[in-house]
């Protein structure tokens, strides 16, 4: 992001226009979006920042300075929530990249039934998160669920997918991948299709194997797709909430809590000032992680 800006900035600002014509990139293009965003999101959000310095019951607010931030950083499950958030984000975005890329390569090859496979893998993207959560909670029931009853048929005693503290978070992450991998796949397909066929032909003439072609052509040239997938799923993973809430509510106990669910619980309990302070902390955290990462990824893209 940053690299791009500095590079492009110079010619645009130094160019001297002989004739005053309207810019082809008029500023008013920002306007409709800016008004809606500014009025309905930015303004209430900034207003609410004030409440992060108060003890707020919705009915009245008492100014307590940085007390909420102190309290939030002392939350007993904040650290665990932070670790869980990172595990969840890395696990889901990593799996989406690997599986999405594999599926993308597979479905742009000559494999049979491409249409069917693409349709089937993509469909979960369209289904409601709550619906997916309910369905998988039922399938993952420790004793009656279809997954464990099937495993029992072949003599495996399945774990409590969502009730065992060691498995709960990972199970939810896997369902997240199940639901989201279709989008990653399609983004990769777009990226792979766009790679000029001549590269592969030239490589074939040089006697490259399939793996070599993948490693030296597909992987680097599908980098923009990888960046999109990583950024999207990393942001999604860091703010992940819906699916975790629908499936475990952070449980059993507090064991699959992520930062977003810790914040939501404060909100649910009526600690509105505290949850606003938590949002500020979450924002800083995500910004600290995403901004350098996206700058780094974009720089790599530029170099290619």
């Amino acid at each position: 992001m940053v690299a791009e800006i500095t590079r492009d900035d110079a010619p645009a600002s130094t160019r001297i226009k002989p004739v005053r014509s309207p810019s082809p990139y008029p500023s008013w293009f920002y306007l409709p979006a800016a008004i809606i965003y500014g009025v309905l999101f930015l303004f209430p959000t900034v207003a609410s920042l004030f409440f992060s310095l108060t003890r707020w019951t919705l009915f009245d607010a008492t100014f307590i300075g940085l007390g909420n931030f102190q309290q939030f950083l002392k939350e007993p499950f904040l650290l665990q929530g932070l670790v869980n958030t990172l595990i969840y984000a890395v696990l889901t975005s990593g799996l989406k990249v690997v599986i999405g890329l594999a599926l993308g390569v597979m479905l742009t090859s000559q494999i049979v039934a491409r249409g069917y496979l693409r349709a089937v893998i993509f469909f979960p993207v369209l289904v409601s998160t709550v619906g997916v959560g309910i369905t998988f909670t039922t399938l993952m029931h420790p004793t009656a669920g279809a997954i464990n009853t099937t495993l029992a048929l072949v003599g495996i005693h399945g774990p409590g997918w969502l009730t065992d503290p060691h498995f709960a978070l990972i199970s939810v992450a896997l369902v997240d991948v199940w639901k989201g991998v279709g989008l990653a796949m399609v983004i990769y397909m777009a990226g792979i299709v766009a790679i000029p066929q001549e590269f592969y032909e030239a490589a074939s003439i040089d006697g490259a194997t399939g793996w070599q072609k993948f490693g030296s052509i597909t992987l680097p040239l599908a980098m923009p797709a990888t960046i999109t997938v990583i950024i999207l799923s990393l942001i999604g993973g860091l703010r992940s909430f819906d699916l975790i809430w629908a499936m475990t509510k952070g449980g059993p106990g507090f064991t699959s809590d992520v930062i977003a669910s810790v914040i939501y619980k404060q909100y649910q309990a009526g600690f509105y000032g505290l949850s606003t302070a938590g949002n500020v902390v979450l924002f800083v955290l995500v910004a600290v992680l995403i901004v350098p990462l996206s700058a780094f990824l974009n720089r790599r893209q530029v170099e290619l």
């Binding site: 800006i5 809606i36 209430p44 496979l117 409601s128 299709v193 950024i231």
Partner: protein, 275 residues
């Protein structure tokens, strides 16, 4: 000729994806056909009595045909807000990518903020009340646009970076104005990302639960996700009706998907410009 690996690999892929992706949906369908007591067993067994029709009727009639109202509301909401998200998002992404200025930094910050910060519910309601938009579909449409803009802009900007500047410059030389360049040249080239935005945002908005709950209260204003909560409560869950409802609200995306499957995938892949 296809090589054997493409056939055997394909068959293996079909088997695996069927188990992984189709079976959970079959589970929904099977349970939507059961009686309340049978569905509560969570098993995959075929229903003893087939009750799909009764369940459907019951779900549709619940709370004064709330599901039907919800469908109408959700459709209007989704179509209107996604249209705005595409056009306004593309406009911002375009100028943001093409003409870096002092606004680029703040704009990037705001985009990130919009992606991350959860909205402040109560101040937003105060504001909507002040504007006379609370409890109106218009208000909720604007809210969904405001909350979805960051994501759209991010995607559009990334994609516009792959469209050569020479195209705009050629058009400028031909004397085209900004509107012509954007709507006549750039937007059609953006088809893949437009399709992505449409798909992702329609799914998110059609399936949104929290925002309608807060900004559009009242039975007449229900949206489809809220109907799930008719059957899912703290004290009593009717799994058969719940799964029937999930089935029912999954059908519209399914139909849209079947109809536009080709366009979606073709749009996403074929138009792709080298990145």
């Amino acid at each position: 000729m296809r090589r054997p690996i493409h056939i055997w690999g394909g068959i293996a892929a079909i088997l695996i994806t069927t188990v992984v992706f189709i079976v959970p949906f079959l589970f929904i369908v099977v349970n939507a056909m059961k009686s309340s007591r049978e569905a509560a067993m969570r098993s995959f067994a075929m229903p003893a009595v087939w009750r799909l029709w009764d369940n459907l009727v019951e779900v549709i009639q619940t709370r004064d045909y709330m599901v039907l109202t919800a469908f109408v509301n959700s459709t209007i909401l989704t179509v209107a807000s996604v249209t705005m998200l595409v056009i306004f998002g593309a406009m911002v992404g375009y100028v943001l990518q093409r003409r870096p200025s002092i606004w680029t930094g703040p704009a990037n910050f705001l985009i990130l903020a919009g992606l991350i910060i959860p909205p402040a519910v109560v101040p937003t309601i105060w504001l909507l009340q002040g504007l006379g938009l609370f409890k109106t579909l218009h208000g909720l449409i604007l809210i969904e646009v405001a909350y979805g803009l960051s994501f759209s802009v991010l995607l559009f900007r990334a994609f516009i970076a792959t469209i050569p500047r020479e195209l705009d410059e050629a058009a400028i030389i031909d004397g085209a104005g900004p509107m012509r360049i954007f709507f006549g040249i750039i937007l059609p080239l953006l088809r893949p990302v437009v399709v992505t935005v449409i798909v992702v945002q329609s799914v998110a908005i059609f399936n949104d639960f929290t925002n309608p709950l807060y900004y559009l209260p009242g039975n007449k204003n229900a949206t489809v996700q809220l109907t799930l909560y008719n059957f899912l409560s703290q004290f009593n869950t009717s799994y058969n009706l719940l799964f029937t409802d999930i089935l029912l609200i999954t059908i519209p995306p399914l139909i849209v998907y079947i109809f536009f499957n080709r366009q979606i995938v073709a749009g996403l892949t074929a138009g792709a410009v080298k990145g």
